[in-house]
Amino acid sequence: MEKFIQFLINGIAIGSIYALMTVGYSLVYSIMNFSNFAHGGVIMLGSYFGFFAITILKAPFWLAALIAMTGTTLLAVVIERLAYDPLRRRQAPSLYYIISAMGISIFLENIVLATLGADFRNYPPLFQTSGFYIGGISIGKLDVLILVVGTISLFGLMWLIEKTKIGLAIRATSFNLRAANLMGVNTEFVIFVVFGLGGLLAGLAGVMYGLRYTVWPQMGLITNKAFVAAVFGGLGSLPGAIVGAISLGIIEAMATGYISSNLRDLIAFVLLVTILVVRPSGIMGKATEDKA
């Protein structure tokens, strides 16, 4: 039982990191209907921004996070302008966006590699790495921090989307971009904001990830897990993204814990396909019938 709870806690801890990544990706998906494979690259740069803010600018942690988030927000918006906007003007199918995103991702990873080198970089420790202990169960302090920060920011995002005017515009646009445009929503601006928010979350995810682990050019690959999590939960659904990410974390922990650490990812994949066979739009995704 103690072991089960420890596995559960481990699962939630890694799941909350996935969640931070998944939500930014899913948000962009909900508007643009394509998988933004550049998200991982932006997260990676967020990690670097935060790292350099701390080590070179000697910024305190909260300021470094802020700087990183500002940086990635700008980066995400610039990427949107340069790589996606021209495609949108041509009404290119989503395949082209995905390839463009792939190109960006290759570019970002390798430019960091070429300029900063392949070194692993490490955030100075924020706390000692002892955990809290409850009985024999350990809870990492960083995990708690990530969970708290993650929850606050995700609730903030939900509030923004549910309660504000721009949130309404985002919801309208995600429902139907063209119709929203006809209804007088400035969809250009909405897209701008959405990419900005995606970048903001990527920055936060990057800093948290860097703080928890290390920073290096290939770290963006971890977002593959976030894509899987998003599909688990249902693409384009924010609650789905969170549910999907946390469940993926727990599934991985349980598969490692009770079945085999060798086959962890395989088990996660089999479960993913099983869920998709039963619910083709994920756990929380809307099952849509094609309109004729």
């Binding site: 420890q6 692993f120 490692t256 085999s260």
Partner: protein
């Protein structure tokens, strides 16, 4: 119809753009040892997830090539290094090796920095008749397979079975450990190799493996595996992989309250290990090629640090030795012909910084290299003892 024209034009432009690049690239002429220049190749990861090791090797060899040229060159000729990226992939290593041999006309290839790449070079080297001296390719099959030696593959590092057995024997015999746990990277050949031979040796000596858990390259979260390991109550934990994951493992293990002795292989030593988990790594023991207190080691470390602003990774030392072996072979053969160099390499003896190297003509492995056991104390790797099995 205009579209068809733009299409044609863009095609021509793109092709034109890249063909025009070629002449600008160094070493694109027909190669061979024309005139006073002779080329030596290096291959390895400059991109991809093992780039950190490849970059250090390339830097080291460039440094050595410059030094040779400052001292009058190799057999009177200016040495030129052609260093090419493999992205850490076997098939890329194959293409790159062919290119170095056929186009650049290199006389010997140094590197690569992993077995996965080195195994890809075998057919290319056999087709081209040029020797390769691998730096850190520890899989036995690189030089010797099914009772047959690969004629053109050599190496200066010791092989997986040796390291794994040394770690196991040391843990059992010297540390008195009987219950070992292993965490390993199942997608990394180096890690699975060490694991296999560690377990074999440890069980042979009479110890038990109480837990064997895996992860995949790219993973950074090991807590669940460590939770399982903790509940198996081992008295030693073997971590046969590279320092980034080693540091993270140590951190997470301590967080879980898993206070057990750590032991590992030559993937450990790096300045960066201390950035990740200095406190958590204290007292950790690992098998290595060299003693860091050795003056030769310190000279090189200083030279490298002065030149590149950061200390070398372990691969740098082996790259150094690979180059020295190459240089010695050329001088012994007194020839710049690849076949002559290959012959000279068999049985050559060189005092490297990772120890005394003698290439066994039967297996093309260095023989008599003793493993060193080092302990982490503060920010230093303290030499404990030389150690060997069988």
């Amino acid at each position: 119809m205009k579209r068809a024209l733009t299409l044609l034009l863009s095609l021509i432009m793109i092709i034109g753009l890249f063909t025009s690049c070629t002449p600008a690239a160094p070493g694109a002429d027909t190669g061979g040892d024309t005139g006073e220049v002779v080329k030596v190749g290096w291959i390895g990861s400059l991109t991809g997830d093992q780039a950190i090791w490849g970059q250090c090797e390339r830097n080291t060899i460039q440094m050595l090539v410059d030094e040779v040229n400052d001292n009058g060159g190799l057999l009177g000729k200016t040495l030129e290094l052609v260093a090419l990226d493999t992205q850490g992939k076997g098939e890329e290593a194959y293409t790159v090796t062919r290119r170095l041999i056929e186009q650049d006309g290199v006389i010997t290839i140094l590197g690569p920095n992993s077995s996965g790449e080195a195994l890809g070079t075998i057919p290319a080297l056999e087709a081209g008749g040029v020797p390769d001296i691998a730096t850190v390719a520890t899989n036995p099959k690189v030089t010797f397979d099914n009772g047959k030696v690969n004629p053109y593959n050599f190496r200066v590092c010791f092989i997986d079975p040796y390291q794994g057995s040394v770690a196991a024997a040391y843990a059992f015999n010297e540390m008195g450990k009987t219950k070992a746990a292993v965490l390993y990277d199942q997608s990394l050949d180096y890690s699975t190799g060490l694991t296999e031979f560690f377990i074999e040796q440890f069980e042979k000596l009479g110890g038990t493996i109480v837990a064997k858990e895996a992860f995949n390259s790219g993973d950074q979260e090991f807590k669940t595996q460590l939770t399982k390991i903790k509940s198996a109550e081992p008295d030693v934990l073997f971590l046969p992989y590279f320092f980034k994951e080693v540091g993270l493992t140590a951190k997470q293990a301590r967080e879980l309250g898993l206070d057990v002795d750590l032991i590992g292989g030559d993937g450990w030593p790096s300045e960066q290990l201390f950035d990740i988990a200095k406190d958590e790594m204290q007292g950790g023991l690992f098998v290595n090629h060299l003693d860091y207190a050795d003056p030769a080691v310190q000279d090189y470390t200083k030279l490298y640090t002065d030149e590149f602003g950061k200390p070398p990774e372990l691969n740098g030392f082996l790259a150094w030795d690979a180059f020295k072996v190459f240089e010695a072979a050329v001088n012994k053969a007194n020839s710049l012909d690849p076949e002559d160099i290959t012959k000279a390499l068999e049985g050559i003896e060189v005092q490297g910084i990772t120890g005394f190297i003698k290439i066994d003509p039967e297996t093309h492995n260095p023989i008599g290299k003793e493993a060193a056991i080092l302990r982490i104390e503060g920010e230093e790797y303290k030499f404990v003892t030389k150690y060997s099995v069988e």
